[in-house]
Structure formats: C-alpha cells, structure tokens
C-alpha cells in the first residue's frame, strides 16, 4: 500500500493527520450536542432535524456530523452561496439563508454559516442547517400545497446576521415578522449561532496548535482520503449497469374535478465501472405544479446516501465532499429531479431524496445483489399542524414525523419503525406533544402485516393517531408510497402502503391523499399509517419457526402466515 499514500500525508505524519481529522469530526458532533440542548422547537431539540458541518475556504465539506444523510449533497452549496454572495468575510461575521435556488434545500431548512479565522486569515466555515417549524407562507409549518416557491414562505438569500460580532437587528426583525412562532424562532436561531461559535472556537484552536498552513493542508487531505477510500470501495464492487422506473403518488395539487392528485414518474440508470459510478435520470417527468420538485443537490443526496450504504456499509469512509468526486449525477433541468425557479420544492426535499435512494438499490440489485436492501418506508411521513391553543391563547405549530419500515437485507429481517435512508429524525414523545399542544395521541403502535413477506421480512410500520382537543386545527400531511408500496427484492413482497384518514367527531371517515392540506375540527382524529418496507427473497424460503415466532408476537397475522408463507399456526 506504500505507493498509494495520498498527498495529504506528505508531511509524513499520519498520526497528526488522524488526530486533526478526528478533531474536525468531533467538533461537528459537538455542534449537534449544543444545538439539541439549547434549541426551542421539538423538531430540533427532540427530533433532531438538522445537520452540522465543517467546510474549507471554498465551501467544500470537510466533515459532516452524525446527522442527516439528506443534507450530504446540498450542505456545501449552502456555504458556497455565502462565498459567492459576499467577497468580504470578517472574523465575527455570521450569515443566514434558506433559498433552495441559492444553496438551500427547502425554505424551512435555515442555514447559519460562520467563518473561522486565524488572525485575519480565513480557515474555513462551519454551517448548521436546522429545520424551523415555520417560515411563514400559506399554512402552519410552511408545508402547504403551493404552486410557486413564493407561496412557500420567507425566502432569504445569504445575508449577514452579525457583522464583526455585532448582531444586525434589521435582518432578524424581517425574519421574525414573517414566521408564525417568532419567540420559538429566536430561540432556535440563538442555539444555531451558539453551536457554530463552539465549533469555530475549536477550529481556531486547531490552527493555533498545528499552524494554519498545516491545518488547511490536512483539511484538503481529509477530503482526498475519503475520495481514495470511496474509489477503493467502488472498485471492489462488481461492474455493471441497471435501470429502474418508479412512480410517485402525486404532488398534492388537485386539478378541477379531481379527487386525487396524479402520479408522475422517475427513471434512473446506474452505471458502475471501475472506481466510478454514474446515475442518469434521463426520461424522468417534467416538473409538477405542486411542491414535489427537487433541486439537483437534493436529488444527489439521495444518490450519495444509497452509494455510501451500498459501498461502505461499515461507515469507514468519513462523509465529506471528497466521497462524491467519483460519482456523477445527470438530470435534465426542468424535471422533477432538477427543479428550476419558481417551482415549489418543500416536499421534494425529503420525498424525492428518499425515492431516489431506494431506486438506486433496485437498479444496482442486478449486479451487486449482496450489497443492496429492499425498499424502506420511502417517505419522511410528515404531519404539520397548527391553530390556537385555548389553554394559553397562543398560536402553536406542531411538526411531527412517523417512521415506517427499514427494508429487509440479504440475511437479515428489516427493522420495525425506524428512520431509514436519507432521514434520521426522531419522534416526539407522546407526553411532550400533549403537554405542549392541545392534542391527544390515542395510539402509537406497530401495524401487523405491514412488513413485506420474504425469506427475510421487511420491517413494520407505525400508526399514530391524534385527537384534536378544544379547537380547530389546520393540518397538512406529506407522505409517499400510498399508491406505490415499498418494493421487495428477489421475490420478496412489497410492504404495506401508507394510509391516512380523518375520523370526524360524528364517526364518519374521510380518506386523505398522501399530500393534503385540510381542516381538522374539534374532536376529530387524524389516523396516520405510514408505509412498511419490502421483504428480501421468496417468502416460501423463510424458516417456519420464524414465521411462528412472528405470529406469536403479532408482527404477522395467522392469515398472512398461511397466505404469504404457507405456514399454518
């Protein structure tokens, strides 16, 4: 291996390299701790919907924290946007922005970017992208079924929030005049700025200890090192190519006379050759009217997550911009996987990224069958709702996610109700929801038979039911795979599709589309059954003892055991 030592090790001091690399990753992890403990919104403090990263002077990501894979591809653009917008960057400056057409992902994801310096010399940036529960727009949670980005909420290009350590009140005032829960927003923003400050202090400390020249050299080396490992990992996979076509439920927009939104199609072709991999989206449908249009960087995040899972399941390759150099993503502008202004984007951020990630597994299953997994839940399954809490007279916004199945793997069952692929946010405890909002959660449980049958069974989905107490709420659901259930692999069956419905106070039931804005009146119940996940291998090959154990635990019904597995219990 002596001939493959990267340039970063030219100092001939691999130990210092490893030490500095570990420091960079642990400062991103420390940002996470600071943000969780100080932020105000459940979506940040409990659910963890944010990502932290350390960036070089050009805006390439040197280290991502143990955060959301969804942000892998798009975080560097968030920092590059600041660099493009502002030539002069000084110690103590802090920038903020959220524009998906200028380095963001969707409007609720607010980026705070802070430069780090050794004296007056720029060392790089830290960026914390956090999902705010509301950034204005037509509906609580900024998750409306809009047809232009202008309706989705406040669009903020990269602007200064602090100049040389002094807060600039004007910008903050504009922001908080435009969001529904300004006090909460201010708390979140303080937490973001504070977490960045912690990382900047550490980065500046590293420069003092090792010298800025050496630090900057190592930061480049860290990315080169990941690139080299990724190439090695890709080279070890068999060469081959494969295609897959899949359709999404719809964009949430009903044309006149329709009761359901229309499905649209994504096509992709994966080619792996030597130490490189290319994904081409030719043939994918043009942009849709509703917010299911994905900026290219978001689409790329889905690809990157899949490739990392396929090629580097042991997570030995530190995630950063270097990893993605051997990977190319081609998509025609103006399609649902490469959105252009002014298309709305808010749902696509997670829904298209999820979809693309699962599709890459299927496309690669022909030539790398042992490295892929069956389709997982394929959605972030969001409920955003708000109204006025009569207990306090205050406006509230509740944003929750419900988790479905994690797909079956070669040799292993899937996992029940846990975040998969590009997502990794947590649920909000039932008792916290009820203490914070005028809601009662009546059920939170696994759904039997929702895991696709297979030699290895798919993971089950969860069901959550909210009852609206003493007020009328405006709610939005955003889910996928209600029409195209999560596929199985190698004769494994598909998992259960999503089902969402409203039970009114009088007991009548109304089925909801997977993306819909609706009114939930007092005492009505929102039932949210998220998708399960696919099985792996033919169900007839499953060990009957495992089927019996599943029936005993109620993961599989007696009927399904007989029908799908041919096992009488």
């Amino acid at each position: 291996m002596a001939d493959t030592i990267p340039a970063a090790f030219a100092d001939n001091d691999p130990a210092t390299f490893e030490v500095v690399k570990n420091s960079l990753y642990s400062m991103a992890a420390e940002m996470r701790v600071v943000l969780s403990k100080t932020a105000y919104s459940p979506i940040l403090k409990s659910a963890g919907d944010f990502s932290c990263g350390i960036f070089d002077v050009r805006g390439d990501m040197v280290a991502q924290g143990p955060d959301l894979p969804m942000h892998l591809g798009s975080m560097p653009l968030a920092v590059k946007a600041v660099i493009r917008a502002w030539e002069e960057v000084a110690p103590g400056d802090v920038f903020i922005h959220n524009d998906p057409y200028f380095g963001g992902s969707h409007l609720p994801d607010v980026n705070v970017v802070t430069p780090a310096f050794a004296g007056e010399r720029l060392l790089g940036f830290v960026c914390l992208r956090a999902h705010w529960p509301d950034v204005g727009g037509g509906t609580p949670g900024s998750y409306g079924t809009e047809t232009e980005i202008f309706g989705e909420g406040l669009r903020l290009p990269p602007v200064r929030l602090y100049r040389r350590g002094e807060p600039l009140r004007e910008v903050e005032d504009i922001i908080f005049a435009n969001v529904r829960t300004p006090d909460e927003g201010r708390g979140n923003l303080r937490a973001q700025v504070g977490a960045n400050r912690r990382a900047v202090t550490r980065l500046e400390g590293l420069a003092r200890r090792h010298g800025p020249d050496r630090l900057l050299r190592i930061m480049q080396g860290v990315m080169d090192h990941s690139e080299m490992m990724m190439r090695q990992a890709l080279a070890e996979l068999p060469d081959g190519e494969g295609s897959f076509e899949d359709f999404c439920d719809g964009d949430g927009i009903l044309e006149s006379g329709e009761t359901e939104d229309s499905p649209f199609t994504i096509r992709l072709h994966v080619k792996k050759s030597g130490d490189e991999l290319a994904v081409d989206f030719t043939g994918t449908d043009p942009m849709v009217r509703g917010p299911m249009n994905s900026p290219l960087a978001v689409t790329a995040s889905g690809v990157y997550t899949a490739v990392k899972t396929v090629a580097d399941s042991d997570a030995l390759i530190p995630p950063n911009s270097g990893c993605w150099r051997p990977i190319s993503v081609q998509a025609e502008p103006g399609t649902v996987v490469n959105a252009t202004l002014p298309a709305p984007v808010v749902y696509a951020n997670h829904e298209i990224a999820h979809r693309v990630c699962d599709m890459v597994y299927m496309a690669m299953s022909g030539f790398a069958p042992n490295n892929v997994m069956a389709c997982s839940q394929g959605t972030s399954a969001i409920l955003a709702m708000g109204g006025v809490d009569r207990r306090t007279g205050n406006r509230y916004v509740n944003y929750e996610v419900v988790k479905g199945g994690f797909g079956a793997r070669p040799g292993k069952d899937g996992i029940n109700a846990i975040a998969a692929s590009v997502a990794n946010t947590a649920n909000t405890p039932v008792e916290v929801v009820e203490m914070s909002f005028p809601l009662r959660v009546d059920r939170y449980e696994l759904i039997p038979d929702s895991g696709g049958a297979g030699e290895y069974r798919g993971g089950l989905a969860a069901r959550r039911v909210w009852k609206i107490l003493d007020h009328t709420a405006r709610a939005t659901v955003c889910c996928e795979r209600s029409k195209s259930p999560p596929f199985g692999l190698f004769e494994g069956k598909a998992g259960a599709p999503a089902r969402i419905y409203l039970i009114k106070a009088d007991g009548t039931r109304r089925d909801l589309n997977s993306k819909e804005h609706f009114i939930a009146s007092e005492d009505s119940e929102i039932w949210y059954e998220v998708p399960g996940s696919g099985g792996f291998g033919p169900p007839s090959e499953r060990d009957p003892e495992k089927v019996r154990a599943d029936v005993r635990d109620g993961y599989v019904s007696v009927e399904s055991a007989r029908r799908d597995y041919g096992v009488d219990v």
Binding site: A2, I5, N12, P14, F17, E18, V19, N22, S23, S26, A29, E30, K37, A39, Y40, S41, K45, P69, G187, R190, H225, M228, M229, Q232, A233, T305, V310, S313, D314, A315, L316, I317, N371, F406, R409, G411, N416, A417, I418, A420, N424, A426, N427, P429, V430, E431, V432, E434, M435, R440, R443, Y444, E445, L446, G459, A462, V465, R552, D553, G554
Partner: protein, 697 residues
C-alpha cells in the same frame, strides 16, 4: 480501630480496600474474580484482606460493595423473564423508542435491543390526560386475563408504565396491588415509584430495566448478605451509580441505580484524592484494556447526569445513543471511549492510520504478552518506545516479548506507511491519546468547563503511561498518580456517603409556581429521604438533605439541574433559582436569555447520610537521596525529543519532596509512570505522585 471495607468486583480482579477511620491507614488487596460464583469470590477476597491487614470483624463499621451483576445481566441478556403493562394503544412504546437509528449507512445494523418481547407486552384500558385528569377510567377487571397469561408464561417480573402516571398514579397503584395479590413472588415495578418523570419511552425503559434485573440483584444480594452475616460483618451497602451508597432495601426498590456501581466507585475515589490533596477540581481518567473513562469533579462534587443508556454499543469516540436501554436515574457523568491498552492499530484502504475500536483485550492480549496476539496494540507500542520495562511488567510476573511486538508493528503499520518503527509506534500512541482525550473533552469542554482549571487523576495500570500526553492535549497543568492506581478505585467504596436521590415531575412555569406547592412537594420527598436515613440507622447529626430543580427555558427540551436553598419556598428562593439557572446556562452553552420564561420540570432531593472523610496517613520515606531510587537508564522515545537516555526510578524508594525532572520513568509493581521532557514529578507524603509542567512543557 474502626475499619471500613469495600469490595469492588471487576472483570478480571476483585479489589478490596480497607481503611481505618482512626489512623487513616489504608490497604488494598487484589484477588481473582470468580465469574461462576461471585459470592464465593467476594467472601474469599474479604477474608484475604482482613487477614492481610489484621482486621477483626468486630472492628468493621462499614461494609460496601460495587457489583457488576446488574450490568452483566443486561449485556449478556440474562435478566428475568419480564412482562410489561401499558396504556391501551401503546403496547409498542418500548420497541418504537425514539425512532432514529444509531448507524446512518450500515445496512446490516441490528435492531435496537428490546428487553420485553411483544408477546409479553399487555395493554389495559385506561387513560390519564396531560392535565392529570382521568380521561378513561381503569378497566381493572381486564387484569384477571392479563394475570393469567403472565402466570402461564412463567414471567419472573412485571413492569407497569402508563401514560402520565407521574401526574396521577392511582391507576398504576391499583394495577400493582391487584397483580401482587394475583402473582405472589413476582416483583412488580411501577413507573410512578421508579421514575415519576415526563417522557414515556424513557420512563418505560427505566422501569423495564428495574424489572429485568431486579430478581437477579435480589438473589445475589440475599446470598451475599447471608455470607457476610456469617463472617459477622455489619450490614451490606451497595454502591449506587450516582456515587453514594444504597441501603440494600433501597437498591431492591430501584435496581437500575446499581448500574454503574464499579465506575462510580472510581470517581468517588478521585474525589477522595482531591480532599486529601486539597484539589477540588479534578478530571479522573481510567485507562483499561478496551475502554478509557473520564469524569469530572467540580468543587469536590461528582458530576451526575440522567442521560444514560445501559448496554449501548461503542464507537471510537462516543457511546452510541439509540442502541442500549435508557435509564433516567442519576448516574455519574462518565464519558467512555473505546480506546485502551489493547486497542489494535490498523491501516485503512486509503492509507489512513487508525487505532481501535477493536481491542485485543485480555485474550489474546497484546503481541508482547506472547499469548497468541497477532495484531499490534497500544501496549506493544508503549513497549517499543521504551516506556515499559519488559523484565518488570506487573512486577516481573510477565516477561514481555519486544522482538515480536516490533516485528508485528513493522509489518502491519510502519512499512505500509513508510515510517520508521519508532515513528510508527509514536504515531499509534499519539492517535490513541487523542481518542482518549476526547473522553476528557466531553466531560469538560463540552459541558462548559475549562480543563486548565482542573488536575488530572490517572487510574488503571496503563493510565499513568499516557496521562501527561492527555494533559498536554487539553492544557491540564497537573497530573496526580495515586499509590496503587490499578486498585485505587476500590477506595471509593470506603470514602463516600450513604445517598439516595428522589425525583418528581413538577411541571410549572417558574413565574407561576405557587411557593406553597413547591414547599409541599419538596417536603414530601424530604420526608421519604429522612425515613430512608432513619431506616438505615443514620443518626440525626449525620443526616443531610439537598434540594434541586431541573430547569430550562420553557421551549427547550433539556434541563440543567440547579440547587434550591433550604427553608420554606418564597419569592426570594424562586428568584435565586432563576439567577442560578441563567448563570449555569451561560457557563454551559456560552449564552443566556434572562428575559425568557423558565420552566421547572423536576424537583430533586438527595438524602445523604454523611460519613466523615478520613485523612490518609503519611507513608513512604521522608528523606534520602533521589539517586537511591535510581534503577539505571534506558533509551526512550519521546515525540518532542526523539530517543533520549532516560533515568529509570523505583517508585517505592522515591523520597518525599523529591523532585525528578523529565524525561524520567518511574516503575512500580502495578504501573509505569512516564514523565516526558518539560514535566517534573514530586512525591507527596501520602504517597501520591504529582507531575507538573515545567516552563516549556
């Protein structure tokens, strides 16, 4: 004479510490752990220690014990067959957890462990709302069917956790009463007893852990008590995870409190050292074969946390939340990283050097042990660099094979990276030191404490080899090595207080707290604490009650614990509480918001039976020349100096007040102390070695 005796069971050794309260004399005895019958091992160790130090049973005033029984039951999945009863609609609370995964890209990851399988999880019709009012009354009759199924399943313990039971405990209590009557001999743990606190998954998990380990702890303690009674020793105490003893009866009510029993003893020992040396601010560092642990003592007090998972997986620098079982009881704030003497050095496919997390452990151990190890470890590198004496390891019990260590390191690390042997070894040590320093950083910098205000205490046989290097990483100015670093943590067992923590959710905005209500809630807990202390035979003069509140800004999710002053609660108390919170937030996170409303979440009372802290007796030699302790010199490699000829000294013959400049190596039977260039070492009359930075260190 009045002796205190503490027994600490570890994986390999059982350590016994004896301390005479009158003279301050201490002794430590090491015996082998007997995994097949821990009780027999403890009895053997006790007898050995009492014989060695001439301690008659009638002179023993305190007997305490740190046990791994609870932790092992969880790690080895050998706990009791447990059933769980939940509110209808919430059967899966234990399995749904918080729904995030621990490993982002690992397609082969295992599902997180669940203590109670689904077929032993039962729902019952009932519901309490967020205001504590009953929404659906308890259908008590459903219990007949449940009890029958539980009986048929051969269940050994039951956990009951209903929604909002911390606001309204009547439903859980009625279930408890009925089940206990229906299932005699099966312990029933109620979440309103175990942890009357917000957040259903964490509360259920804590209650389930108690049920899962309760029967095992009970049978172990019962057998042990019988054995110690036969030795005519006083009543047994168990070391609790928060750094205080538990009365045996108390430990049965709350078995989860015995989880980090052993490590807690170590941290208490560090605090004890602080008292001896008048050093109130310490970071303790314990280096073993597989992991390194750090914790922090501030103003003489051990820091505790209630965010802990038992049985979690490790990665290189952080414990992985989401893989173990959360228990929300106060546990000493311990950061643990998987790095130690047995950590294996390896090269990744991109030519990067790594150390750990895989460890050669005790079996097969490092290459130089000659017991079959084939991969280079940190201990091998310590030997190659000249820190360890191959002829005098463990006092000469094991002769180390330096040639084998060198050959392996050369082949696996040095040659692939184009480094010399010494550069490779120094590189491995630098990487592992940095990984271990991360544990120190987590308990200090990450919690808002400046390491420069602390001294480092090094435990474990290997700790003193690496301690100064870690201190340098974090600019810690002083390193303390106790007399017997490999067994010193057992001394924590004889140097702490009787202690039990009570917690109760008190969910109110601070500016809306009715003072009387807070007084009442605190008094109720204080009364429980007082009863416990009376029951444990603690005389009034030694009873102490401390109060605190968990507070946060109303919209945050994580609280900080701040003390509440004594006396009936009035406006002044509440104002002081607010001030203390803002200040704590500022030091921890770098900012505060004095105009934001505050939320009180929990009230806490610690009931303490104070034991006097003895003063250690001076020992060693008061005079003599340093040269009398010199054993010779050998070539030792230091990163900042290269290979130098380094003086080797015998710890036992170093005189008091001796002052040895680095580079120097101090050898003892159970450890080696490395003093690099730029540091110096002195001997304290009580037997501590104190290393301090010289000007250029």
């Amino acid at each position: 004479m009045s002796w205190r005796i503490g027994v600490d069971i570890g994986g390999t050794f059982t350590d016994v510490a004896v301390l005479d309260e009158v003279s301050g004399r201490i002794g430590i005895v090491k015996t082998s752990t007997t995994p097949r019958d821990f009780v027999a091992g403890v009895v053997h160790a006790l007898k050995a220690a009492m014989a060695r130090h001439g301690v008659p049973a009638s002179d023993v005033v305190l007997l305490s014990h740190a046990t791994t029984v609870v932790t092992n039951a969880i790690l080895e999945e050998k706990g009791a067959k447990t059933a769980l009863i939940t509110t209808r609609g919430f059967r899966d609370v234990l399995e749904l957890r918080r729904s995030a995964r621990a490993r982002l890209y690992d397609r082969n990851q295992e599902p997180p462990a669940v203590l109670v399988p689904r077929h032993r999880r039962f729902e019952i019709t009932e519901r309490v709302g967020a205001d504590g009012e009953v929404v659906i009354p308890l259908e008590e009759d459903e219990l007949d069917g449940i009890a029958e199924e539980i009986g048929n399943e051969g269940v050994e313990a039951v956990a009951v956790c209903l929604l909002f039971s911390f606001l309204h405990d009547d439903h859980e209590r009625r279930i408890g009463a009925r089940l206990r009557a229906a299932l005699p001999g099966v312990p029933v743990f109620l979440s309103c007893d175990v942890l009357p606190e917000l957040k259903e998954f964490e509360r259920t998990s804590t209650t389930a852990v108690c049920a899962y380990v309760g029967p095992i702890l009970a049978s172990y303690v019962e057998r042990l008590e019988q054995a110690t009674r036969e030795l005519k020793l006083p009543p047994l105490h168990i070391m609790g995870s928060s750094g205080g003893f538990l009365d045996v009866t108390e430990s049965m009510k709350m078995p989860a409190m015995a989880v980090e029993s052993g490590p807690a003893a170590g941290v208490v020992a560090a605090a004890f050292i602080g008292r001896q040396l008048d050093e109130p601010n310490l970071i303790s560092f314990d280096m073993g074969g597989t992991t390194a642990k750090a914790s922090l003592i501030r103003d003489g007090r051990v820091e505790v946390t209630s965010e802990y998972e038992v049985g979690a997986d490790a990665n290189v620098t952080r414990w992985m939340h989401g893989t173990g079982h959360p228990i929300k009881v106060p546990v000493i704030d311990l950061a643990e990283v998987s790095a130690g003497g047995g950590s294996i050095a390896w090269i990744d496919s991109g030519g990067g050097m790594h150390v750990g997390p895989r460890s050669a452990g005790a079996e097969p151990g490092p290459v130089c042990y000659g017991q079959g190890g084939r991969e280079p470890t940190v201990t091998d590198c310590d030997l190659i660099l000249g820190y360890l004496n191959p002829e005098y390891f463990l006092g000469g019990e094991l002769i180390l094979d330096a040639a084998a260590a060198e050959a392996t390191l050369r082949e696996r690390v040095a040659e692939p990276l184009g480094l010399s042997l010494l550069e490779a070894a120094a590189g491995v040590v630098a990487v592992v030191d940095h990984n271990m320093a991360e544990a120190l950083r987590i308990v200090s910098v990450e919690r808002g404490h400046d390491p420069r205000d602390f001294s480092l205490v090094a435990f474990g046989g290997a700790g003193p080899v690496h301690a100064v290097s870690l201190a340098r990483e974090l600019d810690i100015p002083k390193v303390i090595v106790p007399p017997i670093p490999g067994g010193f943590s057992a001394l924590g067992l004889v140097a702490t207080d009787l202690r039990r923590e009570y917690v109760r959710t008190f969910y109110k905005r601070l500016d809306e707290v009715p003072p009387d209500e807070m007084s009442e809630a605190l008094s109720a807990m204080e009364e429980m604490g007082r009863d416990m202390l009376v029951g444990a035979g603690v005389p009034e003069v030694r009873r102490k009650l401390q109060r605190a509140a968990d507070v946060r800004y109303t919209r945050q999710a994580y609280e900080l614990t701040v003390p509440i002053e004594d006396g009936d609660i009035g406006a002044a108390h509440l104002a002081k509480l607010a001030e203390a919170f803002h200040a704590r937030h500022r030091t921890t996170y770098g900012h505060d918001s004095p105009n934001e409303p505050l939320q009180v979440v929990n009230l806490r009372v610690s009931a303490i039976g104070v034991l006097e802290s003895p003063v250690l007796k001076a020992g060693g030699r008061g005079s003599g020349a340093i040269d009398a302790a010199r054993r010779g010199t050998r070539q030792v490699y230091f990163k900042n100096a290269g290979t130098v000829s380094c003086g080797i000294f015998d710890r036992d013959r170093l005189p008091w007040c001796g002052d040895v400049p680095g580079p120097a190596i101090i050898e003892a039977a159970d450890t080696t102390i490395v003093v690099p260039l730029g540091w110096r070492v002195g001997v304290d009359p009580k037997g501590f070695l104190i290393m301090e930075r010289s000007d250029d260190g």
